[in-house]
Symmetry: D2
């Protein structure tokens, strides 16, 4: 059994990690920390875990965390980078679900996140944990930057086009929509049911932190800097991200769906839908699947790709467990093969 610890498990990413890890056949959850809830039973905060988990939040302590085989950070940005070195030195593998190790350029990190990076050397070593791109590197990684939710949906949607240089890549457009759980469990007025339900709105149009993350990955694949307009929207539901992607084709291709299907043929968590079928976020609710459709409306030159994930699973906790499975040589689907909850 792998001994796992969670630092900062009180948010939605944390409870989702717990939901997955308590049912994981190869994992023993040994410690979960929270400064604000230390001493409180996890099941008191999250009643769905009653009868499944008998453990309390505790103050984070390095000696205890060092006993783990792997530690997940489900903390605010800027926490993991201050604890990673000690854990790595103690031989613990680290999976950070926050953004600390996602942007490879410390200057860009500082620009978007407003703080100096605490450990640029570890940053250089960290592997961006998107198995569909970096499986080999993940296998031997000591520290994983678990991708953001929007970047997961958008990157998997654009990937086959960019890899094959099929589209004009200076004006890529990603119009993405997220359920409210993406905003976290913080008590903000904007996330109240009375503010966010029965309404739809764009936000952060001038620049969202996931923009540089997506651009970095796509640019690396393209071999040059891509141009991307990324507009996130808040949609009145709990879970789910849909990204509608637009790009102008510059090289013709016989069968786009076949292109996507082949690219993802060995990826158990990417499902390319048959022609004429459109994805719905509910088809992945609670599951680690990403479903993708590809369209070329009226046989014009603009392609439309729609990609859906559950932001808390494939976009966060599920992908983190997937990374852990790969790092420890387990069956990749262990603990994350749940069927989506429908309806």
């Amino acid at each position: 059994m792998i001994k796992a610890g969670i630092v900062g498990g009180t948010g939605y990413t944390g409870v989702e990690l717990l939901r997955l890890l308590v049912a994981h056949p190869e994992v023993e959850l040994s410690v979960i920390t929270s400064r604000s809830e230390a001493g409180k039973s996890v099941a008191d905060l999250y009643p769905n875990l009653r009868a499944h988990l008998d453990i309390a939040f505790q103050e984070p302590r390095l000696d205890e965390l060092s006993q783990c085989d792997v530690v997940f950070f489900a903390t605010p940005n800027g926490t993991a980078m201050n604890m990673a070195a000690d854990l790595l030195n103690a031989g613990v593998k680290v999976i950070d679900l926050a953004a600390d190790f996602r942007l490879q350029d410390p200057a860009e990190w500082k620009h978007w996140y407003g703080m100096d990076h605490a450990c640029p050397d570890i940053l250089a070593e960290a592997v961006y944990g998107m198995p569909e791109i970096n499986r080999q590197a993940i296998k031997s990684a000591r520290i994983i930057a678990n991708p953001g939710c929007y970047p997961t949906a958008v990157t998997l949607g654009f990937l086959p086009l960019i890899e094959n240089g099929l589209v004009e890549d200076q004006h890529l457009i990603a119009d993405a929509k997220s359920g409210v759980s993406g905003a976290g469990r913080g008590a903000n007025v904007g996330s109240l049911l009375c503010e966010a339900s029965e309404s739809f709105k764009p936000y952060a149009v001038d620049g969202h932190r996931h923009l540089p993350e997506i651009r970095q990955t796509l640019s690396k694949i393209a071999g040059h800097q891509v141009g991307l307009t990324f507009v996130p929207h808040l949609t009145p539901m709990i879970r789910g991200i849909e990204a509608s992607l637009y790009a102008v084709i510059q090289r013709d291709v016989d069968d786009l769906i076949e292109l996507y299907s082949k690219r993802y043929a060995d990826e158990v968590f990417v499902d390319v839908l048959p022609a004429g079928t459109m994805p719905e976020t509910r088809s992945v609710k609670g599951s680690n699947m990403c479903r993708i459709s590809v369209f070329r409306p009226q046989q014009g030159d603009t392609l439309v790709i729609s990609s859906v994930i559950d932001n808390l699973v494939k976009g966060a906790a599920g992908q983190a467990v997937h990374n852990m499975n790969i790092m420890f040589g387990l069956d990749e689907t262990a603990g994350i093969s749940q069927v989506a909850l429908l309806p």
Copy 2:
């Protein structure tokens, strides 16, 4: 492996059975029938099952169903009673998720369901499949009447009070609220998002079919006919039932919560909450748990019990699988130990 068949698997109860059975370690799903969708892949109707289940709906045929060890009926009322005899004769165990075998009196069945009962002899044999009451009988049953959703929540809530004769039982009140999935997948105007969301309403105040079912069970436990007012309400969400129960105490008791806790100490799917804690339906979403709170406001003589379940799991498919587990001597929690999806 137990070979299972499902008759009529296109509704919400059907897809929920599929979700549970495809992940059940001891079950092989061998046949699923639907007259209306025969020939269609199950995953085409329910995209959450893509990559999990590669089987198509087919016309119901007795010879094929007879190869099963157990057949679940997720059909409209009045279907199972016409097929049960042949299946039982073929040695197949039957679990009916509809109402055909719930009311033990054929006259009452006809009164509430508007049709003659097709097999009163089998009705007499059928066991009401509420494990918390009838575990022994379920073990040896050939045919199970799987309880209704409201009756599950209400009966488990009242049970310890009635068993102990603690309350005046001629004016019991059950004010129950259900998510819209309880109305099924039929295309009715009243179940449209634009009709049912952002609204709350009572319905069937003059008499709901679950009233005689609840009354039958409670009366059997009481040893005499109880009086019950049951008012169901439609609440704007997909899954979940909450039943608020009211009864006037007639014999004093030291500790009501302890009474409930002891009654359900060995029941893995009933969770009595500690004092001051109130259940939420989301704490059981997607799980087979029933959570119950007991209150005596202002130390008056009126007790308030709140009981929550997921209507599609503990109130339908999950309880059906629980019954199957008991009938076949499996671990009772096999395939139904999922943690509720929260948020």
Copy 3:
């Protein structure tokens, strides 16, 4: 034109008052105060008011408020009682939408609200502003205690029964359900979309502050202390209250619906539904109407009444405007005759 002021207009009750008052033909909104938002344009906080209202929040100042004909308090409990005396002395009429003047017994106020009452003498003068009961007193009142949302729905539902002594009134039951706007615009975790949507739960079962308010009104009507169990529930929608009321009949009556219809024949904001029709909260969304249905299931001795209102209109701002209309001799429906928004 009546000059109206609003103290504390940043919450949901405040914005609803604004929505009604900007369209009121006889009212000029002259001042709106908020300590936290002073200086901010109202339309910046509430974008629905852009182009309808060009006024900014300001610090509350007695001299300015004294210029008004009427001042509405849409403040937290405990604010109005500290400002009422000065305003009344200045000849300003006061309508308090909070609870400061609802409980006539200062000791009970202290018990439920945890603070000494600041002006018991004014409390003695204040009129409970439910027009269907107190129209005459409202006409000449200087200060109005605007009823709570639950008390409005519950009291109007029980009223004809209690007035006529038709039911056993020591075990009245009110099972009430409210949309989340009833919890206000405060940034509480429990009101987040991800916590409150797709879920249903009871709360404050041990005792909600609206219990003594309802009990006070019904007891006054009955001429003796009634016994009431009141259980509020949170339902996943923005607006609306439904109260299902239960009482055992003790004197027979020919036609309950006729009894209700006669009682409310002259009340433009109470609509008694015809037999067999059940109210939905959406039928009153955004309107000042209360709709009521009366049932006697299976001709037993337990009556079921269902009463629905929009908690922010008839349960708060609309009823306040209704009171103002009566106090100033206007058409009672002025500014509050909107048709409910459906769907």
Copy 4:
């Protein structure tokens, strides 16, 4: 008073027309027709109208409709074109809320709507009823094609850019999201709460009927055929459309917001938001307003415009009443100046 008739008033557009017309100071609703509901009181179908409207649905009869000054068609596509000639001959003005008179080319109509146009001559005369573009023509029109919901939001959003030739107009992108009421009151499985809530999806990616309508208007303004990719999405709420529009700038402009503000300075129902503010659909719920924001993220060459409306008001019934007001020389805001319902 203007005598108004409604043909086909049972859908959501119909009930919304009723909500607006019963409160319109210059209109008397004299007849409402529905073949399916003939004889039924309107208030029985739409309980929000109880006490506001005492009229029953009746079979459509030309003689009665001919007594009206104006007749609104809230019918399925293909109905109005068969009745318009007779009404126009009788001197009745016609406002069609369906699509019969929107596409000026009968061949294109047939391509997208699958039927021959019944009256190409009247089609040639019909005025596309978007006041912000066609006010003068509307004033003297006998027959109005009321714009579609998506076309209203998208066209108003692109208008200033296209009028000024500011953007490359061969690759315009409109990513639009609609509440479920856009799908109407038909009993379709896809519109059930359990199918459409807690989910988000694109639909009709290969070609939606509103695509040619938007393209026709924008092309007319541009003076040449524009290229447009239009992808509608279903979002889990009742009312509201948000359209996120993308275009590459080809001529520089100092201040985009000022450009928009000037264009719409005299338009009471278009509100251009200040810099940094983003529209929310709830800010127009129940109102006839269109709110628009303009962005140029990171000062790149891709513009992002977000436009929101209530699909049933500005996108249907409200715009129809606006057209009526203009046709009859009334105050343009008569009956449609409601403040949006928030929260």
